[in-house]
Amino acid sequence: MTTATDFTLAELIIAAAAETWRGDGELLATGIGPLPRLAASLAKLTFAPGLQMTDGEAFLVEEPVPLGARGSYQPRYSGWMPYSRVFDSVWSGRRHAMVTPVQVDRYGQGNISALGPDFRKPKVQMLGVRGFPGNSVSHKNSFFLPNHSKRSFVEGEVDVVASAGLKPSSWPAGAPADYVKLGLVVTDLCVFDFNGPGHAAQVLSLHPGVTFAQVQDATGFPLLQAPGLRETAAPAEEQLAVIRNLDPHNVRATVLKGNPPGVRAA
């Protein structure tokens, strides 16, 4: 493996996000949105061959399908995965998704439903809770947020709890505490998780050129520095080659504003 020197922030994020599936074994891996989907695909093609993926519609594929117009590429199907089976897979727990909530709070609760204090007349109607309530109590979920800020990582609680989190008082007394499983949270600034003491958020790595203080300033709740806090690893040239094959139309360049380089200018 040769560490790359020239890579974009999106590519750094893809390589960092792929790590969330490490050690998962055989299960359904779903990355919603271009970077999470590329991350899951990269994980499958490099270190997590047991991940099972779909073509984005209703079929399982053993080779991840590249993004966008397919040209001469023809997927080879190896199974059928209509939504009814997606739900069966979700509820069995044999799935790990990476999704993009609009708001995340200190409890790991996520919101994609609506903004504003009054759900009957929201300030902004968003997607609705979609599959987040079921996903969040059934299988592991990781997050990708492209704009790390206090608007996305809110000070109080999210406006609408679409994904359940680790807030004890939201659960009935005696409910098993282990339904909610949170993986990595990958942003444009850092990688963190909720595995600090008492499920506290702790930063695992800072993207090149980013300081912990900068991340804390952009976060509405307190963050810890994980033991061994380090710089997010640059992708390897071999990983970049895989990413280019998976994304021939360079959709990844359109996700982050201005498609910034992976190493920020000092």
Binding site: G56, P82, W91, A114, F119, R130, P133, S138, S163
Partner: protein
């Protein structure tokens, strides 16, 4: 037995205040010919149950809707249905926002004639706080777990689009995913289908084809021959969604009198004028089915 009927005859069996389930998934396989006939009618106060696409937005815009029970309302590449968004942000409709899987479970419970289904889904989420009528139930077994007792979602009527049907109510639904059309059919007192193709009999020597038969003819009260009847949504095996049309429709939501303009110019008085207004049969048949 002949269940062949016109869209207008179906609508004449609907009443104000009914709970109507709509098959399909977002901008995919929606029985739009029947939705348009509702838009042309004076029906009102409807409760719409759906994995919603343009039908939910249009019915809201036309003031037909009292309440929406939904897993989502989306046009896919236009993530939020523009007229649904408008209705929500004006507080103009009541909603029961569900997890996508809860909608499936509620419909299935209705089809099984159960009062509720016990599930962990929704616990510790906004599904509980935004639907204060939902109650929980404790497992009677040793685990004692407290679960959501999701009420069955009973439908007066289900409207479903299929590819081929005969006059006895046998249907075939092509495409990669049956979605939950079968559960909508079972949850309803009466099912009306629109079909791309009507035949004397769907009977075949090929049993594989019959896997595309999603529900029994005894559930089907009426069959409406409605070629292109899913436009502007995808009808697998026939034509793809019309994203150009959906974008133009979405743009009207930001204009003053936008809905009325769309209603008058596009929906028109019958399906023939509708198809002509959206570019004609050849345009619709040429719409590619999208890949992802």
């Amino acid at each position: 037995m002949n269940k062949d009927m016109s869209a207008r005859a179906v609508i004449s069996q609907l009443r104000d205040g009914m709970t109507i389930g709509v098959g399909g998934w977002g901008p995919r396989r929606k029985p739009m010919a029947l939705i348009r006939e509702i838009l042309r009618s004076d029906l009102k106060d409807l409760t719409i149950v759906a994995y919603g696409g343009p039908e939910v937005g249009m019915l809201c815009a036309a003031g037909k809707v009292r309440k929406v029970i939904y897993g989502f309302v989306s046009l896919d590449t236009i993530p939020i249905e523009p007229y649904f968004r408008k209705a929500r942000e004006a507080g103009a409709v009541d909603v029961c926002e569900l997890d996508e899987g809860l909608l499936l479970l509620g419909l299935r419970a209705a089809g099984h004639r159960l009062p509720f289904v016990a599930t962990r889904i929704g616990m510790a989420s906004a599904v509980m706080t935004n639907n204060p009528e939902f109650k929980t139930i404790r497992s009677p077994y040793d685990d004692g777990e407290e679960l959501l007792a999701l009420p069955a979602i009973k439908l007066d009527v289900a409207l479903i689009h299929v590819n081929r049907a005969d006059r006895k109510g046998n249907t075939l639904t092509f495409g990669p995913d049956p979605y939950f059309d079968d559960l909508f059919a079972r949850a309803a007192d009466k099912v009306f289908v629109t079909t791309e193709e009507i035949v004397d009999s769907i009977a075949s020597h090929d049993p594989e084809v019959m896997k595309a038969n999603l529900f029994e003819p005894y559930l089907v009260a009426g069959v409406v021959y409605a070629p292109l009847g899913a436009h502007p949504t995808t009808s697998f095996g026939a034509y793809g969604w019309d994203m150009g049309h959906l974008k133009a429709y979405a743009a009207t939501a930001t204009e003053d009198g936008g809905w009325q303009g769309y209603r008058d110019k596009t929906i028109g008085n019958d399906e023939a004028s509708y198809i002509a207004s959206v570019g004609g049969e050849a345009h619709v048949r040429g719409l590619p089915i999208p890949t992802f």
